[in-house]
C-alpha cells in the first residue's frame, strides 16, 4: 500500500509540511526532509520550484525564485530525492506546476518519481478532467497518487467527481486565499469544512492554505484528517536554522 494511503488509514491529526526544494540553499532539501522525519511530521510536500507559481502567495514565490537562482531544477531534484529515499520512509509528495513536468516529459517524470520513491503528486494547474483523460493510467502504472484541490467555490457535483477520480487525499483549500498564513479561521471557513464533511466522501480530507499555528492546526484537524503547512514553514526557514525545525513542529503540535 502506498505510504500516503497507509498514513491516511492509520493516523488522525496528520501534519503535512510543505517546503520548496533547494531553499534556502540548494543542498538543504535532504537536511530538511530528514529533520522533518525525525519530528512529529507525517508527510512532506516537496515544492518543485517554478518561475510563475500563480496559485501561491508571495512567500512561496520568493522561496521558488531563490531556489531557482540556487540552481534547482527537475533533474537535480530527482538526484537528491533518490538519496533521501534511502534514509527515510516518510511519505513524499512532489508539488509542482504542470509546465516543468511537461518539459521534463510526463512519462519520464513519473518514472523518475517511482525510482525516487515518490508517493504522490500535487499539480495545481492540472485539472482533474485532463488528468483523468490523459494521465491517470500513467500515474497508476508508476504507483503515484494524484491529489486534487477543492475550494469553497467547488460545487458538490464536482467534489463528487473529484472524489471518484481521487485515490489519495483531497486537498481542501481553506479559504479564498492563495497560500499564506492566517491566525484563525472565520465562520465561512468553518461552515465550508462542515459542509464538506457532511458529504461523506470516500477520500480523506487534508486542509491547507492559511495554517500557521496551533490554533489553526487544531481547528483544521477537527474537520479533517490533517492539515498542510507551507508559507508559515517557509517563513520559519528564512530566519531559523534547519536544526531547530523541531521548535516549529512542537509549537504546532504543542
Amino acid at each position: 500500500m502506498n505510504r500516503i494511503n497507509k498514513i491516511l488509514e492509520e493516523k488522525n491529526n496528520i501534519l503535512s509540511i510543505y517546503f520548496t526544494a533547494g531553499f534556502p540553499e540548494i543542498e538543504d532539501t535532504e537536511k530538511i526532509i530528514l529533520k522533518l522525519s525525525e519530528c512529529d511530521v507525517d508527510m512532506v510536500e516537496i515544492g518543485l520550484p517554478f518561475s510563475d507559481p500563480l496559485a501561491d502567495g508571495p512567500t512561496i514565490q520568493e522561496s521558488s525564485t531563490i531556489a531557482l537562482n540556487n540552481g534547482m531544477n527537475t533533474k537535480k531534484l530527482f538526484i537528491q530525492l533518490k538519496n533521501i529515499r534511502k534514509k527515510t520512509n516518510i511519505p513524499l509528495i512532489i508539488m509542482g506546476y504542470f509546465n516543468p513536468i511537461l518539459q521534463f516529459g510526463i512519462e519520464n517524470f513519473c518514472e523518475e518519481c517511482e525510482l525516487a520513491g515518490i508517493d504522490g503528486l500535487i499539480i495545481p494547474d492540472l485539472p482533474v478532467d485532463v488528468f483523468k483523460e490523459n494521465y491517470q493510467s500513467l500515474f497508476n502504472k508508476h504507483k503515484l497518487l494524484n491529489m486534487f484541490l477543492i475550494s469553497p467555490q467547488t460545487s458538490d457535483e464536482r467534489i463528487r467527481f473529484i472524489d471518484k477520480v481521487s485515490n489519495g487525499f483531497i486537498y481542501m483549500v481553506s479559504s479564498f486565499s492563495i497560500t499564506g498564513a492566517v491566525n484563525s479561521f472565520g465562520k465561512n471557513q468553518i461552515d465550508y469544512f462542515k459542509r464538506i464533511n457532511k458529504m461523506n466522501l470516500k477520500s480523506k480530507l487534508l486542509i491547507g492554505f492559511g495554517i500557521s499555528n496551533k490554533d489553526t492546526f487544531n481547528d483544521a484537524v477537527s474537520y479533517s484528517k490533517g492539515a498542510i503547512i507551507g508559507s508559515a514553514f517557509i517563513k520559519f526557514l528564512k530566519t531559523n536554522k534547519i536544526e531547530n525545525i523541531k521548535n516549529f513542529i512542537d509549537q504546532i503540535r504543542g
Partner: protein
Amino acid sequence: MSKTYNVNEKGYYGDFGGAYIPEMMYANIEELRTKYLKICSEEKFQKEFNDLLKQYVGRPTPLYFAERLSHTYNTKIYLKREDLCHTGAHKINNTIGQILLAKRLGKTRIIAETGAGQHGVATATVCALMGIKCIIYMGEIDISRQAPNVARMKMLGAEVKPAISGSKTLKDATNEAIRDWINNPIDTHYIIGSVVGPHPYPDMVARFQSIIGVEVMDQLKKTEGTENPDYVIACVGGGSNAAGLFYPYLDNENVKIICVEAAGKGIDTGKSAATSILGKEGIIHGSKTLLMQSFDGQITEPYSISAGLDYPGVGPMHANLFKTKRGEFISINDKEAMEWGLNLSRLEGIIPAIETSHAFAVLDKKKFKKDDVLVFNCSGRGDKDLDTYIDYFKL
C-alpha cells in the same frame, strides 16, 4: 465539418488551448465557459455592445487607404484605424464586451493585468463608465516606461498595483491578477486583455475583437469590390488585435495571414519576445500554447522595447496558426520597429504605438506585388510611447 482554424467545442485550436487552471479558479472559469456564448448572443447584449462600440468607442473605425505609403512600396496598403478607438487602441473592444458580461454575471469588482497600459486604460475606462470598482496589475518596469497610461488609469479612478516579482512586466502582472481572482472569486471578474489565458478567454476575446475584421470585409467590399484582401497583417503580443482582424478570414486560405512578433534586440541575443521562433509548447497562464522557456520549463523573461509585445507566450489560436503554417510569422527587432514609428508618422501623419510599428516593418522584409491588397491592423496610437520615441531619436 471541414478543417477550421477556429476554436473547437473543447476550447482547443488544434493542439493548443484548454484550461490548465488551479481548482480555485474552476468555478469562475466554468461559469464563464457555460454562459459566455449564451449571454453574448442575447439580442439585448448585442444591442448594448454594438451601441457602445458605435456611440462610445467610435466604431466603425475607418479603413484608410494609405496613399503615400502605397506609392512608396508600390502595393495597395490599407490601415484599419484602431488607433482612433476611444482610449487609443483596439483593447477597448474587448473590455466593453467583458464589462457587459461581468454586469450580467453580477460582478461588482473588476481586475485586469496590463503591459503597455492600453488594456489597463481600456478596463479602467469601462469601469468608470459603469461605475464599477477597478484594480489594475502592472509590472513595475512597465509602470515606469508607460507613465502616461498609468496617469490615465488613475484619472479614471482605477487602483494601479505594481507587480514586483519576476521580470516585472506583463507576465508577472498576469500572475498577480490571477492570484487576486483566486482570493476574490465571488464578486470579481477578471478582464483578460488578450487572446490568452484559459478557455474560454481566447475565444471570448477573439469574438469581441472580431468586429475589426468584420468591418474590414464590409469596408473593403466598398473600395476594392471584394471582401478579401491578399494579406492581413498584425503585430502579435498576446494576439488580440491580430485575432480580431484575422477572425473572419481564418478559414479562407486565399487571404494570407502575417503575424509580426517582437525580436527585441535580436532573436539570438537572449533579449527577445519572438515566441513562435524561440518558444516551445507548454502551459502559460492556464493555456497550452507556445511559450519561451528554459530547458526545464521555467518561463523566460522576455524583452521588447514595446511593453505590449513583451510577453513570453502567445494565444493558442496563433500557436496553431504557426504550427499549421496557416500564418507566416515574421519577427522585427526594436530598431526596425522604432524606425517604422517614424516612417508612418512622416509618411502618413499617424504616430503608431510601438507595438503597431512592428507590423509595418514587414514592408521592408517581404516583397509584395503591385496589385496586392494589404490590410494592416493599425492597432494603437503612439501617444503612450512618445517618451520612448523622443529618447530613441533624440528629437
